[in-house]
């Protein structure tokens, strides 16, 4: 009782960044719930990972079994369910990630537990959580409280919180897998790596980022001209890639790439958190957007609030004159 479980996400031998962020949040709030931070690790051959986690949690509770070699939502759910029954943690944190959202909602339904997603702030009041999440892609915040329960399941937004600095030596406890059976109805087949394109935007010095604000394919030549004057490569938001204006390997953000150019020039990009996560390493960010409240301006160094179709041609003209 009182403990904060952090469900560890790892893939192909690597611990994902979201864990360190969750562990930081967990360490800040654990005392509100009167418990400790427990990393919950499911995997096969993960002694190394358990050791790394010991530096950032009071305890690492870990299950090492061949059935857990690759993530499988069904098998994860069964094991997490049993661990919750046995240990009764107050909070279970799961990443609001492709892995997390594949298992957390089903777990919450199965166990009939309070469930809040994409949490960006958390505190405890009287032993119960109070949490903040967002609506309308960051335009509205919402504070939630919870019904009485033994355990609360929360998914935590990725790349929004500071990572923890490992500083302690927690205990490591290896336990038998509560559920060892293969999943009958869902089988892991393989990983398929993303295709590699002609330009590696993670290495680009200058980048023009294209967003949905550019509207149509036929406006891309205007952007290409802008790229020419900056000698920049083109990349873009998921919306631009989904629309087919750019190939997938030019997508910036959580499901695309993280870039670290000298200049990132965002044209008609709103700045969804999944996009911003990919431009944290950019030195200077410039954004043109007609919405003064677009979240991109929180990350930008210079901003113009206006119509990109007026700004971009004029900018090209000014810079071409040189």
């Amino acid at each position: 009782m009182g403990d904060v479980f952090v469900v560890i996400e790892h893939r192909q031998g690597e611990i994902r960044d979201v864990n360190w962020e969750m562990l930081n949040l967990a360490s800040q709030v654990a005392s509100d719930f009167g418990g400790e931070v427990v990393s919950v690790l499911l995997g096969s051959g993960v002694d190394d990972i358990a050791d790394q986690l010991a530096g950032a949690s009071s305890k690492v509770l870990y299950v090492d079994d061949p059935v857990l070699e690759n993530f499988n939502a069904d098998i994860y759910q069964k094991n997490l369910s049993a661990l919750i029954d046995e240990h009764k943690p107050t909070i279970v944190m799961i990443g609001h990630t492709a892995q997390g959202v594949d298992v957390a909602p089903a777990l919450a339904v199965e166990k009939d537990l309070p469930y809040l997603t994409d949490v960006i702030e958390l505190r405890g009041e009287g032993g119960k959580p109070v949490a903040v999440r967002q609506y309308y892609q960051g335009k509205v915040n919402a504070e939630f409280s919870f019904a009485d329960a033994d355990t609360y399941i929360l998914t935590i937004r990725e790349a929004a919180l500071e990572p923890i600095e490992p500083a302690q030596k927690g205990s490591v406890e290896k336990v038998e897998a509560p559920a060892k059976e293969e999943a009958e109805h869902r089988k892991f087949v393989e990983y398929v790596e993303a295709e590699i394109g002609d330009v590696d935007i993670t290495q680009s010095e200058m980048l023009i980022g294209v967003g949905r604000g550019v509207r149509e394919d036929k406006n891309m030549p205007m952007i290409e001209e802008l790229a020419q004057v900056f000698e920049a490569d083109l990349c873009g938001s998921r919306a631009a890639v989904d629309a087919g204006w750019l190939p997938h390997d030019r997508q910036v953000g959580t499901s695309g790439k993280s870039v670290k150019p000298k200049l990132y020039f965002a044209v008609g990009i709103s700045g969804a958190f999944q996009h911003l996560a990919g431009i944290k390493g950019a030195k200077t960010v410039v954004a043109v957007n007609k919405d003064p409240n677009a979240p991109i301006f929180a990350e930008a160094d210079y901003g113009i609030v206006d119509d990109l179709f007026k700004v971009v041609p004029k900018l090209v003209e000014e810079l071409k004159e040189e």
């Binding site: 492709a98 109070v130 329960a149 892991f188 004029k314």
Partner: protein, 263 residues
């Protein structure tokens, strides 16, 4: 293949100002324009393609207001066969698990092979309804799917993970898939389809019609409670380039970038 596809009618707020009502318990949606949720549009396309390639039918499910019927009919115009719209003011819409219960009630007694949802609703960002729905129905699922291959009695689904890595999984039917944007190129509704869609069945149901007791999905049933909404103070780190008009701003930006050695 009998497919159900769940679509949500959502406001497009990417360029809109969002204003709250006075006590911070709701958003003034009167000036928003609404349409099908982005990911759901891809889910409808995928469902229609599966029908075209493997036969069967597509039922469109939506919990939403009467105004959403235009959007539901659009999905029918693209190839959906019939639709169910659930409307009941008692449903607590902040709780994705309640939404999943209602959708499950509208599907579970019918014959189905495949249920598709979007992977995320752009207004609430819960990324949860599809997977919760699978658990309610007691069938397997895969979230964030960007490629589907229908095989005999099963589907192979490519799940999109961070960084563009794909995880391929195999699910037995029936199952639930939550569809990620970019999986296909959604079609526009053909004129003929729009005409035909007017005649297709669109059943409107309440919780009572579904046989779902309201106290399982209303505010009292929800284990999460909204305290209040507020507009976040975004610290605009940006130095805004001011000017009379767009051209002047562009000229000034050019100066700044030149001085900073960024061009």
């Amino acid at each position: 293949m009998k497919t159900f596809v769940c679509i949500k009618y959502v406001p497009d707020t990417s360029e809109a100002d969002v204003n709250l009502n006075e006590d911070g318990t709701g958003v003034d949606t009167s000036r928003f324009s609404f349409d099908i949720n982005e990911a759901d549009n891809y889910a409808v396309e995928e469902a229609v393609r599966i029908k075209e390639n493997h036969g069967g039918s597509v039922t469109v499910n939506s919990i939403g207001p009467q105004d959403s019927e235009v959007t539901i009919r659009m999905a029918l115009a693209k190839g959906g066969d019939n639709a169910i719209r659930v409307e009941d003011s008692r449903i607590y819409e902040y709780d994705p698990l309640s939404i999943a219960k209602v959708l499950a009630a509208s599907i579970k007694d019918q014959e189905y092979d495949l249920v598709m949802t979007g992977c995320v609703a752009n207004d609430d960002g819960n990324m949860s309804v599809g997977v919760a729905l699978a658990e309610e129905l007691g069938v397997p699922h895969a979230a964030m799917v960007k490629q589907v291959e229908v095989q005999d009695g099963k589907v192979k689904a490519h799940r999109e993970l961070e960084g563009g890595l794909m995880e391929v999984v195999e699910l037995s039917l029936p199952c639930v898939l939550t569809i990620q944007t970019g999986i296909n190129e959604p079609r526009y509704a053909p004129i003929k389809g729009i005409r035909q869609a007017k005649k297709k069945e669109l059943k409107v149901m309440s919780l009572d019609d579904l046989g779902l007791p309201a106290d399982q999905v209303d505010e009292s049933a929800s284990k999460i409670k909204l305290n209040q909404l507020y507009i976040p103070q975004v610290e605009a780190k940006a130095e805004f380039i001011e000017g009379e008009d767009a051209e002047e701003k562009a000229t000034k930006l050019a100066e700044v970038l030149k001085k900073g050695g960024l061009v």
